[in-house]
Subunit: 406 residues, 2 copies
């Protein structure tokens, strides 16, 4: 028998219990052993719930039980998750987690602890929910050099941007609708400011570089400034605005960013709408690949957690992961990255036209029928150059980066 | 040192050698050991080629060398590949292959041989080229019940259908162009008749059912009958015609088919064009996921082969695969599957209209501006019912199945 303890009986935790109980027969066949949920840890009581018999409030009960082989951490947040996971690994228990914040911050440390003890720390569900991406990167794509990984990694913001694009609605209105439907939190900052996507691209960047990428180092911009006018221009350009989290190889380093981008129709991520997530990967030999699916939600996330539990149970005393050292990777200075910029400028007179020509030279104007402003796409330049030139102009309403056809 | 022998120095074989030599440092780091190509087997000589030093013409030299740990079979075809792979496994050597025909026919046998000997038989590159799909099915998705797997699994036919759709060209013309560009073989039957896609969906069906699915049992229809008129109707319907290879769960069995289908724009496979492949997976808990990438080509395929080599090298004496028994799965009778059918009928008179009403009841007519025929989509019915009714009519020009919005 393989005994597991589930820390946290919230959305994901209850999903994990349900998936294991529903698919138990098949799971046991795959493992070649019987999987048993011995404990569920939560501060709350759940009277009448089938887990009430195995519910505990005290983590020491789990950590002191030598029969517990695998600890499943689905509480979220840094503490007490960090202490719980660390203690579990110290006691030789495998850990499976869906906690992106914890993985982004302490993944390298936990992986190294697991390696020394010949056990496993697995975190497939921390990026892309149900989409298998960590394991493909770690195994299928290991023989290759990953040159780019760019994802739509947050379902809430993708839902909001899709609604704005297809229904022509305003940001605030769509956000309220998303909150009513449960697609957005009451305090949506982690999603709409790009923090969630930033944690996830930090994890993926660490995996493809093999070194620690600190999420604090990644330039991050959310979608709160996107207006229905921006969307009108995007539609006029035959493009969509997507919140991209992207990491591109640059010699021995990576350049990483989270920001809204204008995407052309031929980009593989163009058609990824609503709450779906997708991750585009370019390998030196593999070429282009994409992984698409439900990036969040109770059951997709739970199914990824349980897949890790199965893997952990099959490799109880054999380390199967992973190239991610604690040594920090210094990212490429974001100011040196080249691209084009879509810019909207207040006013529509000779003065503005002259200003644009003076600062940006020859630009591509975009007319979406608004009389009180000018919009254009700059030539290719570095972020630093753009910032310099933009500082020299007055009346810039908004700037959105353009993701070039690759 | 881990020694490998590469059987076949054709497109994929030379790609494998190149990927290993180019990424050797990284590969060795991943394996934690030095990977060495000890032999390349080919009947031909390659004077001046870097492999000429290690080239052998006689397989016994490889099989009798106890230092060879992994045999990489990239010759294709059933014989002598079957004998070579079988002998290698008997001698305790791991085998990696990209040979879909061999895997579809003998995968279960080889997996069972490998399991008994605690070694591995790996075949990621046999389906979807560089797209990681076998390993995700085998690990990431194991905790779930896969309810559907539907793919665009053949790049040649997808290229032809995309060209017909976007350029409005005729089948024969596009085929010639594809042959000239090297996207289609001089004898293109295996691709255009659907045989290649059929082998691949047989492999995927075996993996998601855990039993042997014989490709001879899968109803298979190619794209040779698709005309530019069919494409005009598809465009009119806002749909695309794609060669789908599909397997859907039906209680304890599967229904499987390879045929051209009309797909709506909201289907995840709708936007997969040119030589790209994609595989749509629906899991009971996972929900919908899709894997997209280059399904063929020297380097994408080679990178998948090398990923398997890395995995085999990391698990030299430990079996990591797979649920696929030799016991045969009896597929659901294809005649009992329900769907709608797009039909084109010769003539455009009262007689035809009456005939349609008599046979199919109330249908949805489609007008693409052709005066000499009628086209319509039937209500939902079984394949058997459709065949019965169609036999009762005269002048049916063509029928294409409709893949319903899921």
């Amino acid at each position: 028998m393989v005994n597991i303890a589930v820390l946290g009986y919230g959305t994901v935790g209850s999903g994990v219990v349900e998936v294991i109980r529903t698919n138990g027969k098949q799971i046991n066949r795959r493992i070649g052993n019987e999987l048993n949920i011995k404990y569920v840890l939560d501060l709350r009581d759940f009277p009448g719930d089938p887990v009430s018999d195995i519910l505990v409030h005290d983590y020491t009960k789990i950590i002191d039980d030598p029969e517990v082989d695998i600890v499943v951490e689905v509480m979220g947040g840094i503490e007490p998750a960090y202490t719980f996971v660390k203690t579990a690994l110290e006691r030789g228990k495998c850990v499976v987690t869906s906690n992106k914040e914890l993985v982004a911050k302490h993944g390298a440390e936990f992986l190294s602890m697991a390696k020394i003890r010949n056990i496993n720390f697995l975190f497939e569900a921390s990026v892309g929910g149900g989409i298998p991406i960590i394991r493909p990167i770690n195994s299928s794509l290991t023989a290759d050099i990953i040159e780019e990984i760019t994802g739509i990694l947050n379902g809430t913001t993708n839902y909001i941007l899709s609604k704005m694009y297809f229904d022509g609605a305003d940001y605030d209105e769509v956000l309220r609708d998303a909150q009513a439907k449960g697609y957005a939190e009451r305090h949506p900052e982690a999603d709409v400011e790009g923090f969630d996507a930033c944690r996830k691209i930090a994890i993926l960047s660490s995996l493809i570089s093999g070194q620690q990428v600190d999420y604090e180092d990644i330039y991050t911009e959310g979608i709160t400034e996107i207006t229905s006018r921006d969307i009108s221009y995007a539609r006029k350009l035959g493009m969509q605005i997507k919140l991209l989290a992207s990491s591109k190889r640059n010699d021995d380093s990576l350049s990483a960013i989270v920001a809204p981008f204008l995407l052309k129709q031929d980009h593989p991520l163009y058609g990824v709408n609503d709450v779906y997530n997708a991750i585009f990967v370019r390998g030196k030999f593999l070429g282009d690949a994409m992984f698409y699916g439900q990036g969040a939600g109770k059951y997709p996330t739970a199914s990824a957690v349980v897949a890790d539990v199965v893997d952990a149970a099959k490799h109880l005393h054999r380390n199967i992961m992973t190239m991610w050292e604690e040594r920090k990777l210094n990212l490429v200075d974001s100011g040196s990255v080249c691209r084009r910029f879509f810019v909207r400028l207040e006013g529509n007179g000779q003065e503005q036209l002259a200003d644009i020509k003076r600062c940006f030279g020859s630009v591509d104007f975009v007319d979406a029928g608004f009389q009180d402003e000018l919009a254009f796409i700059t030539p290719v330049m570095t972020e630093d150059t753009y910032r310099e030139k933009a500082a020299d102009m007055s009346g810039i309403l908004h700037m959105i980066r353009v993701e070039e056809p690759r």
